[in-house]
């Protein structure tokens, strides 16, 4: 009854090859097959955004995608954001500076949504940032710290870019 397939996915530069059921979600694959538990599952219906990852550089929701659909592709999770020497990604550092997190459950999804967006647009306005994270729900922070953290990066980038 169960349809299984062998898949290969590159996550944060490491190839994971696993025999899995075709019905396994990508979020369950990342968390329970690959042991990368930084990607969180908040609603399993694609609304809360906690499970957001990058698939080939694009922010997507890993709870409403099957793992087999990611076969042969490149995934980045929150564990892959920092430098190999451990230095935090500038946005992670900005979250720390601006109190952009409390319980930390929505944080990986927020980081993945915003880092993907900042690649697209390096100098967003506050309103644009709010629009972008309107697909990620946070029950703790009231969003202000998250918006400020993303603005901190945007401002730094636009200052550097303008020079």
């Amino acid at each position: 009854m169960k349809d299984s397939r062998k898949i290969q996915v590159e996550i944060n530069g490491v190839i994971f090859e696993r025999m899995i059921e075709t019905r396994m979600t990508l979020s369950d694959f990342i968390r329970h097959e690959c042991g990368l538990t930084g990607t969180h599952v908040g609603c399993e219906h694609g609304v809360c955004g906690a499970c957001t990852i990058h698939l080939n550089g694009q922010a997507i929701r890993s709870c409403i995608m099957y793992a087999v659909q990611a076969h042969g592709q490149k995934v980045t999770t929150v564990e892959g954001l920092s430098q190999p020497d451990g230095t935090l990604h500038p946005l992670q550092q900005a979250f720390k500076n601006q109190n952009g997190l409390q319980c930390g459950f929505c944080t990986p999804g927020m980081l993945m949504t915003c880092t993907a967006y900042l690649e697209e647009k390096s100098d967003p306005t506050e309103q644009e940032i709010r629009e972008v994270i309107s697909g990620n729900i946070c029950r703790c922070t009231g969003y202000q710290g998250i918006v400020n953290a993303t603005l901190e990066i945007a401002n730094n980038k636009s200052t550097n870019g303008g020079a």
């Binding site: 059921e21 019905r23 396994m24 968390r31 329970h32 990368l36 538990t37 930084g38 990607t39 969180h40 599952v41 908040g42 609603c43 399993e44 219906h45 609304v47 809360c48 906690a50 999770t77 929150v78 564990e79 954001l81 920092s82 935090l88 992670q92 979250f95 720390k96 500076n97 109190n99 997190l101 409390q102 319980c103 930390g104 459950f105 929505c106 944080t107 990986p108 980081l111 940032i129 709010r130 629009e131 994270i133 309107s134 990620n136 729900i137 946070c138 029950r139 703790c140 922070t141 009231g142 969003y143 202000q144 710290g145 998250i146 918006v147």
Partner: protein, 797 residues
């Protein structure tokens, strides 16, 4: 030898900065690094060898007898270990769950069985449990269990439940009244007899589902050789979960260890104890394998406790200048199908009266009704936002009816600065009189008016009106009985390495407890918060704890940490003085090094002092000292500490679509001594946003005839999003509490408590030209348009 040691330890003194003051500064959170890297450890991040997954078969009926449960097909599915009902767990489980917080006021102390016995009383109630090799199989199998129901009539509206001929929520009970709570003091009859003005209003309030971003979850493991249980659960109350497990399972508490790992938000409902914790634990014993249950979002909608409907009928007696002489009210409260948490939610709905105001007489009755919906327990603020809504809307009513300024009505009634400590006249059921310890409510209101440049706001509203734009200003004040007694214990110890370690049984769900505990400790040793090692949320801790609820850990655990750290510091000073053969006041400390002021090269590290008190063969503890450079302390209290604040909101209403735009929100907040301003701001902003959700978006709807929940995903149930939130501006006032050594009061709920009243007040103000009265929330655009239309019709008639 002495010189050599001095040389070695002089190194850190040069590289360390002076850190004498962590408390009061926005120290960066110790929690953040691991959480930002995805290295947090929430319950679902734990996988134990041989672990099994469980899934519950839940009632699809709001009220029914169970004729039969057919598990054969489910049991036959490959990968299924078993399917169990209550009867399969033996006599130990054949009793209702333990009622937390029992009270003589409870007429019908009805709690649910961990799995239904024969009657189900809400949609989602657990009937059976499937155990399987993994969650996917468990979910498949749960679908194959066939339950034959005999439907019974349902009661969803608490007002209908209170009627004499109402259907019964529980077939075996005589009526649906769980309890009646009185809350009264002063001469209410005299107040109403002599008052020149009496106003009456009715209010409807609904607060919905908690929606912590992490749902609930539990893993239970049983070590059969030691007969020792370990339970990881996403809880606010590891000590209470342990106590209830021990009582229910008839085991000693020392044979059970409960751990709250990283918890992805709590906000109240995770302080309760749930059937799933019992079932997982009993299965772990029965099957000799670890059992994991992770709640999904649908189960969260159906089974995590909520905070739903209240209907209030309120009368206020006042003088012509707005001075309130007395308030009367009757509240009908929807408690859902059971009473898992006693009457705490009901109590917090009445005990805030008279709020920030010196009102001489209060007479309130709350009827706590059973309904065929999921049980309720406190959510951020508990009943306080409801009580504050009633009190603040009453102040606005007085202003409107007597044509007085809303601010002046509040100022006229505030408990004045000179009146603290202020005894309201009310008494808690334990006989303790309610006493507001400290504050300056009028000043706090002034501060928010200054911060919001209130007179400018009024001008902006007038200018907008000339352009046909409906802008309004909301005002609300509140106070809160934060810091629920009696205690949260703390242990501080210097480890043999010299590292200062703090251990608390109390736990955190994102508030930053680890950081503030480290700040308080670091100040005693001239260290930085980041030098301190902190461990939270484990019943293995030396000191006892209660629960992270009611804005209480900063003002209960905080002072305990302070007392323990101070005792360790004193012990270190005494030991160092003896070591150098000087008096204690010769000794100073910086960066964890104790030295003599007169001879700074005479120094000894905390590590070397700690070693003197660690057991060793032929090494004796110095005379006059107890073993270990450590201390366990309890700050115990029998009274709450009263935080307070005032808020101002600026909104715009589109009268054609009913859309409300929140433009700005200002908070002046007094939680006594601020340990970490950045963290307090985070608590307040998050709290305000929760209130905005309650005021405008969040509505847990049920079909009134069948009891079926009809908002069961995050598309139908709206949570506040970044796009709808205003800029929230915060001003702090600090009136330290005299009731604890840090002067700390609670901050976790101060944003939520006045927030709903403030937003609704602003919308009503914006719609002043239509004389729209808003006595309810949540306020959807459709509902707001109805209220505008009704007001227009009234104006014509």
């Amino acid at each position: 030898m002495q010189r050599l040691r001095s040389l070695i330890i002089s190194q850190p003194m040069e590289v360390h900065e002076m850190h004498t003051k962590n408390v009061g500064t926005p120290v960066q959170r110790l929690e953040d690094d691991r959480l930002l890297r995805g290295k947090g450890r929430y319950v679902d991040d734990i996988d134990l060898p041989d672990q099994l997954a469980i899934m519950f078969v839940r009632s699809s009926e709001a009220h029914a007898f169970i004729r039969s449960v057919d598990c054969d097909q489910a049991r036959a599915l490959a990968g299924v270990i078993g399917v169990y009902q209550l009867k399969d767990f033996g006599p130990l489980a054949a009793k209702p769950m333990i009622l937390a917080n029992p009270s003589p006021l409870i007429r019908q102390p009805i709690t649910q069985y961990m799995l239904a016995l024969d009657e189900v009383c809400y949609v989602g109630q657990a009937i059976a449990v499937v155990v399987a090799e993994n969650r996917y199989i468990a979910e498949d199998a749960a679908q194959l269990v066939v339950v034959d129901y005999e439907p019974l009539p349902v009661v969803m509206d608490a007002r209908k439940a209170a009627m004499a001929n109402a259907h019964l929520v529980h077939q075996n009970s005589t009526d649906n009244l769980a309890a009646t709570l009185p809350w009264k003091f002063g001469d209410i009859d005299q107040a109403f007899t002599k008052a020149p003005h009496i106003f009456k209003e009715s209010y409807y309030q609904h607060r919905g589902v908690v929606h912590s971003m992490e749902c609930r979850g539990v893993i239970a493991q049983h070590d059969a050789q030691l007969d020792q249980l370990t339970v990881w659960t996403s809880t606010q109350s590891p000590f209470l979960v342990r106590r209830f497990l021990a009582q229910f399972l008839e085991r000693e508490e020392v044979a059970i260890r409960v751990i709250a790992p990283d918890v992805g938000g709590g906000f109240g409902p995770k302080a309760a104890h749930y059937p799933e914790e019992l079932v997982a634990t009993l299965l772990a014993i029965k099957l000799k394998r670890p059992i994991k249950w992770i709640e999904d979002r649908l189960e969260h909608f159906l089974t995590t406790t909520q905070q739903r409907d209240q209907w209030w009928d309120v009368e206020v007696a006042c003088e012509s200048d707005g001075h309130v002489l007395g308030m009367r009210a009757v509240c009908t409260h929807d408690n859902g199908a059971y009473l898992p948490y006693g009457l705490l939610l009901c109590m917090t709905s009445v005990a805030p009266f008279p709020g920030s105001y010196a009102i001489g007489a209060i007479d309130i009755r709350l009827d706590c009704m059973f309904t065929n919906a999921v049980p309720t327990t406190p959510i951020r603020g508990a009943g306080r936002p409801n009580a504050t809504f009633v009190i603040e809307r009453t102040m606005d009513t007085i202003a409107r009816e007597l044509k007085l300024d809303r601010i002046k009505v509040r100022q006229r009634n505030f408990v004045q600065k000179e009146q603290f400590p202020y005894l309201t006249g009310a008494k808690l059921p334990n006989g303790i009189g309610i006493q507001y310890d400290s504050g300056d409510y009028a000043r706090c209101l002034d501060m928010v008016l200054e911060a919001s440049q209130y007179s400018q706001l009024e001008i902006r509203c007038k200018e907008a009106a000339q352009k046909g734009v409906y802008r309004g200003i909301g005002i609300a004040s509140y106070n809160e009985d934060s810091g629920l007694p009696p205690y949260e214990g703390a242990t501080v110890k210097v480890l043999p390495s010299g590292k200062v370690f703090v251990e608390l049984g109390s736990c955190s769900q994102g508030q930053g407890l680890e950081t503030i505990v480290a700040q308080i400790t670091a100040d005693q040793f001239g260290l930085h918060a980041s030098d301190i090692l902190v461990k939270l949320g484990d019943t293995i801790a030396s000191a006892m704890a209660l629960s992270t609820v009611g804005s209480r850990v900063a003002s209960t655990a905080g002072p305990s940490v302070f007392l323990a750290a101070q005792a360790v510091r004193q012990k270190a000073f005494k030991l160092a003085a003896e070591h150098f053969n000087v008096s204690e006041n010769e000794v100073h400390i910086d960066a964890g090094i104790l030295f003599l002021k007169s001879m700074p090269d005479q120094k000894i590290s905390l590590a070397d002092l700690a070693k003197k008190l660690v057991a060793g063969v032929m090494v004796n503890v110095p005379q006059g000292f107890s073993p270990g450079l450590e201390s366990t302390a309890y700050h115990t209290t029998e009274r709450a500490v009263y935080a307070n604040g005032s808020n101002v909101a600026e909104v715009e209403v589109d009268i054609h679509t009913g859309e409300v735009t929140l433009l700005n929100y200002w908070v002046a907040h007094d939680c006594g001594t601020v340990i970490n301003p950045a963290l307090v701001n985070g608590q307040i902003i998050g709290g305000v946003v929760h209130a905005i959700g309650n005021a405008l978006f969040e509505h847990m709807k049920f079909d009134q005839d069948t009891g079926q929940p009809i908002t069961t995903n995050l598309g139908e149930y709206l949570l506040p999003l970044a796009t709808e939130m205003p800029k929230i501006h915060i001003t702090h006032m600090e009136s330290p509490s005299p009731l604890n050594p840090l002067g700390v009061k609670g901050a976790g709920e101060g944003g939520t408590i006045p927030g709903i009243a403030c937003v609704i007040s602003a919308i009503e103000d914006a719609l002043k030209p239509f004389n729209v009265k808003i006595n309810e929330y949540p306020l959807s655009p459709e509902r707001l348009l109805c209220l505008i239309e009704e007001a227009k019709i009234r104006a014509v008639a």
